[in-house]
């Protein structure tokens, strides 16, 4: 199934794009998508490790399931204010 990874903050700079489409196996969880992502872009490993993940307005964990068409936002350490 196809999902979209959204890059935010410094991840957008490191990835050189605002988003990336990935094909993951049916039944894949967030961790599977991140593993595939970092295989394709090894320079993201450290920042992805320190990033939260969100779908819509909710944080999701590495063990949460993905569905076809999901937009998974990667949120590196935050620095508002």
């Amino acid at each position: 199934m196809q999902i979209t990874i959204e890059f935010h903050g410094v991840l957008e700079r490191l990835a050189g794009a605002a988003s990336m489409s990935l094909i993951v196996a049916d039944g894949a969880v967030v961790a599977d998508a991140l593993e595939l992502l970092t295989q394709k872009a090894p320079n993201l490993v450290d920042t992805v490790e320190r990033s939260a993940c969100a779908i819509g307005d909710s944080l999701v964990s590495r063990s949460d399931s993905l569905s076809h068409g999901a937009r998974l936002a990667l949120l590196p350490p935050v620095a508002g204010g």
Partner: protein, 152 residues
């Protein structure tokens, strides 16, 4: 009212003037853009956010702050986009019957925004370089979290 704004923040609507006649305290915090960071001259900043979660968390922070301090009013608003030195990045207004709770609520709400809300800050320096400010990890399913940085 949105909690994130691409245009300059408007203070007047946040003050809720004329409301809350039982409140004798109104605390206001305004965070503005400094002209330096770690001894490097800063020309401007760019703030970006993951809006769906940021808006939700800022609503939650307002509600939590009101409940914690038992006050009737707390609002926070954060600017996005390119800001110059001196521009306002964040406003927080808290109102309470007495000043102590208003000051404390204002401080807590701003701290929570800095620690929890998915907003990022890229600094642009006088030498032409730029960098994202190291921030707080908001990943919740991580075994160990080291809070190594200081907050200005």
């Amino acid at each position: 009212m949105n909690h994130l704004s691409e245009s300059p923040l408007q203070l007047e609507p946040l003050l809720a003037q004329g409301q809350f006649p039982d409140c004798g305290g109104l605390a206001l915090f305004a965070g503005t853009i400094r002209n330096h960071s770690d001894n490097k001259p800063v020309l401007r900043l760019r703030y970006t956010a993951y809006a769906p979660l940021a808006e939700k968390l800022m609503r939650e922070i307002e509600a939590e702050t009101k409940a914690h301090f038992k006050i009737p009013y707390c609002r926070v608003q954060h600017r996005l986009g390119l800001l110059n030195v001196g521009d306002v990045a964040i406003y927080c207004v808290a109102r309470s019957p007495h000043r102590a709770e208003a000051f404390a609520a204002c401080r807590q709400a701003v701290d929570e925004v800095k620690h929890r809300v998915p907003i990022w800050k890229e600094e642009f320096y006088a030498d032409g370089s730029s960098a994202f400010v190291q921030g707080c990890c908001i990943r919740q399913d991580q075994a160990h979290h080291h809070h190594e940085h200081a907050h200005a």
